[in-house]
Symmetry: C2
Subunit: 182 residues, 2 copies
C-alpha cells in the first residue's frame, strides 16, 4: 500500500535526525502535505490513541487537520517534518475562548521531545491568538505518555468518560477530558 | 431580517398547537428544512445554551445539523414542526460506539414536553442503531431545564469544564459533560 511505503521512507529519513540539530516549528505550507499525511497515517493506523478511523482517506484527514478555523503547524529538523499539530477554537459562539489542540509525532521520532516542544509552542500560540484556556476532549487513559506530558504541562483531568474508547488490544477503556487555563 | 420574520410566523403557528394533538417524531425530510432553520435560528439567537455563533448562516447550520454521519429527526404536531434533534457518533474509530445528540425545541413551544419526548425517542433510536452509550459534550450549567431533564433521563455529570461558556448575561459559566450507557 502506498501509505505504508511512504511511512517506511519517512522512518528512514527520521532516523537520520540527531538531537544536535535545532527543531523548527512553523505554520504548515502546502509543500508539507505529503509529510503530514505520512505522519497522520502512521499515527492513526495503530488505532490506540486517536478516535479516528485507521483507514481514513487522505482527503478526510486533511479536512480534519486543516479545518477552516484551525491553525496547523509542523515541527521539522534539518528539513525533515517530524511532527504536526492543529490548534483551533474548541467550540464556536460562547465557547470560542477555549482552544483545542491535537498533536502527532512521526512514530519513528517518538521519545525525542518533539511532542513537548510542539505543546509548549502551541500554548504560546494559543495565548497569542487570544484564547484563555485549552481543552483536550479525548485523551485515552492508556496513552500514558500523553497523560504524563499533559499533566506536566499543567493540564488537569476535569472529566472521565467511562469506556468511551475501544482500544484495539485492551477493549473498552476510559477517556479523560483535560483542561488548563492560559 | 428574513430570519426574524420567519421565527415570528413560526411562533404564531406554534401557538395554535394544543397538547391534545399527538406528537409525531420521524426522520427529517427536505420539506422540513424551512421549519428546522426557523427553530435552529430561534434557539441559537439567544446565545445562552448552545456554543454556536448566533449569526450562523443557514448553510453552516445545515452542515452542522445534517453532518454526513448524523441522523436528523423532527417532532411535529398537526403538521407543525416544533422540535428537531440530531443523533450521531460522538467520535469516529475507537470512539464510535458512543453516540452524541443535540436537541432544539421551537422557543414558543417550550415547556410542553417536546424535549423529553424527543430525548426518549433519541435514546431508543441510539440503541436501535447499535450505540452503547450517549454523551453530551457541552451542557451549559445555567441551562437548568436541560440539566434537570438529562439527569431525569439517567445522564450523569462526568466532567466539569470551568468557565468554558461565555453566557451573554452571566459571563463565564461552567459547562458539564454528561454521559449514560444505553
Amino acid at each position: 500500500m502506498g501509505g505504508e511505503l511512504e511511512v517506511e521512507r519517512w522512518a528512514l529519513s527520521v532516523e537520520r535526525w540527531s538531537l544536535n540539530q535545532p527543531l523548527n516549528i512553523r505554520l504548515a505550507a502546502p509543500s508539507d502535505h505529503d509529510a503530514i499525511w505520512s505522519i497522520f497515517h502512521g499515527v492513526v493506523a495503530t488505532g490506540d490513541t486517536y478516535a479516528i478511523d485507521p483507514n481514513i482517506s487522505r482527503d478526510d484527514a486533511f479536512a480534519y487537520w486543516f479545518a477552516p478555523n484551525s491553525h496547523t503547524y509542523v515541527a521539522s529538523v534539518g528539513g525533515d517534518i517530524l511532527g504536526t499539530y492543529a490548534l483551533s477554537p474548541n467550540r464556536a459562539g460562547g465557547g470560542a475562548h477555549v482552544s483545542n489542540a491535537s498533536f502527532m509525532v512521526a512514530p519513528a521520532a517518538h521519545g525525542r521531545g518533539i511532542g513537548r516542544a510542539m505543546a509548549e509552542h502551541c500554548l504560546s500560540e494559543a495565548r497569542r491568538l487570544g484564547f484563555t484556556a485549552m481543552q483536550f476532549n479525548f485523551v485515552v487513559s492508556t496513552n500514558e505518555h500523553a497523560l504524563r506530558l499533559w499533566k506536566n504541562l499543567g493540564f488537569q483531568i476535569v472529566g472521565t468518560l467511562p469506556g468511551a474508547f475501544r482500544h484495539p488490544g485492551k477493549g473498552l477503556v476510559d477517556v479523560y477530558v483535560m483542561f488548563r487555563t492560559l
